[in-house]
């Protein structure tokens, strides 16, 4: 997942500039570019509350757009707002979000060879790794999911975790150690 889904940063900046002037269509385009990542981050944090968290987060982002620095990347800013909203909803639920993450089934019926990436792990191994990941404490699980499953960069991961960028490396490193202990 690229930083702006393959769109040039200039295009995103132009959309941000228009949205800051009140152009609703430009803001909708920005949301469309990032809603999948935002939804998945919210899902990792709040499970079934994810859709509402994204909806409310996006509305808050629209209201706060005047305070957004137009030269900054948009996605980390949006992810921070949506992740906060998801955390608030999870707190009000008073329990860990029940996730139903499953490894994607390999489609072998089409005749195409599996991609090199998916071929690396046998189905049982993927299931076992996912179970080990899901069993980690929330902070560790979210850190690894953001970095490796969603392939967010450090700034975006920091936004999703609600921590400073400098904290991401150490948190990911500790989370990998814990995962290694339970997976190996």
């Amino acid at each position: 997942m690229g930083a702006v889904e393959g769109r040039p940063l200039d295009e995103e900046r132009e959309l941000v500039r228009r949205a800051r002037r009140g152009d609703e269509r430009a803001f909708e385009q920005l949301v469309r570019m990032h809603q999948e990542t935002a939804f998945r981050v919210a899902y990792l944090i709040s499970g079934s509350e994810a859709e509402d968290a994204v909806q409310d987060g996006v509305i808050k982002a629209w209201r706060a757009l005047g305070r957004f620095r137009s030269d900054a990347p948009f996605r980390p800013w949006l992810l921070r707002i949506v992740a906060n909203e998801a955390r608030n909803r999870r707190r009000s639920m008073g329990r860990r979000a029940a996730l139903t993450l499953r490894a994607e089934r390999e489609d072998v019926s089409g005749g195409a060879a599996p991609s090199p990436e998916t071929a690396v792990l046998a189905a049982e191994e993927r299931t076992r790794l996912l179970a080990a990941l899901d069993a980690l404490p929330d902070d560790a699980r979210l850190a690894l999911a953001c970095r490796y499953l969603l392939e967010l960069d450090e700034a975006e991961t920091a936004a999703a975790l609600g921590v400073r960028r400098g904290t991401v490396k150490s948190r990911v490193s500790r989370a990998l150690d814990r995962l290694r202990e339970s997976y190996d």
């Binding site: 909708e28 949301v31 209201r63 990436e117 790794l129 290694r180």
Partner: protein
């Protein structure tokens, strides 16, 4: 990159389908209508202040009555129309209701109780949905319909919301359209009566029955 990191990257997950939030946005202009919107809110608050004697608390409570926040909006958020009985949760007994609410469900004589996320409900004839909860800031309502302060009992003010359907956000559930509603607070309890054909006088009579202050 270690082998474990490569394995993690190679995981392909069956994520839930991403909702198309962008297509459903109903954005209100930020700057152009900010002043008129604020002015409208102030007018409503002042109107509420004239409707009840304690002006300052009335203004505050107009938007926030114990566990309910009412926000007047120009356009309602998208919401489903669902039967009153949908999503009430699991059936519970009186003892469980007492624990959830911090006191007995009112009135003492009632039908089957259901609980979901701290809200205890029962269906009354009508049908009318009676819900009680103790937590602060539990429900959000967005209204374009009429909202007025009503006197439920001595020292008990309520909000009567009627006319056009409004949207209610219960915790843990997607928003739904609501019919006529009376909301009031007693002690730490917030009580809500809802029915599509619920008349103001009937709602007040039921509320007084719940409070044990019914005439006769």
């Amino acid at each position: 990159m270690t082998e474990l990191e490569r394995d993690l990257r190679a995981l392909r997950l069956d994520w839930p389908e991403t909702p198309d939030v962008a297509s459903r946005l109903e954005l209100r202009p930020r700057r152009r209508l900010l002043v008129p919107a604020l002015a409208f809110a102030v007018i409503l608050a002042v109107a509420a202040a004239f409707a009840v004697p304690q002006s300052r608390s009335a203004i505050l409570r107009f938007f926030h009555l114990r566990g309910v926040t009412v926000e007047r909006v120009g356009t309602l958020p998208r919401a489903e129309e669902r039967p009153l009985a949908a999503g009430l949760g699991s059936a519970i007994d009186d003892a469980r209701a007492k624990i959830v609410l911090g006191g007995p469900f009112l009135p003492a004589a009632h039908g089957t109780l259901y609980e979901r996320d701290g809200i205890v409900s029962t269906l009354l004839p009508g049908p009318v949905l009676l819900s009680e909860f103790g937590a602060p800031e539990y429900l959000k309502k967005f209204v374009t319909s009429n909202v007025e302060w009503v006197k439920v009992a001595p020292n008990v003010q309520g909000l009567w919301i009627a006319g056009e359907p409004h949207v209610v956000f219960f915790p843990g559930a997607s928003p739904r359209l609501a019919g006529n509603v009376l909301v009031f607070a007693t002690g730490t309890r917030t009580v809500r009566l809802e029915g599509h054909d619920l008349a103001r006088d009937d709602a007040l009579a039921k509320a007084r029955e719940i409070l044990g202050t019914a005439a006769g």
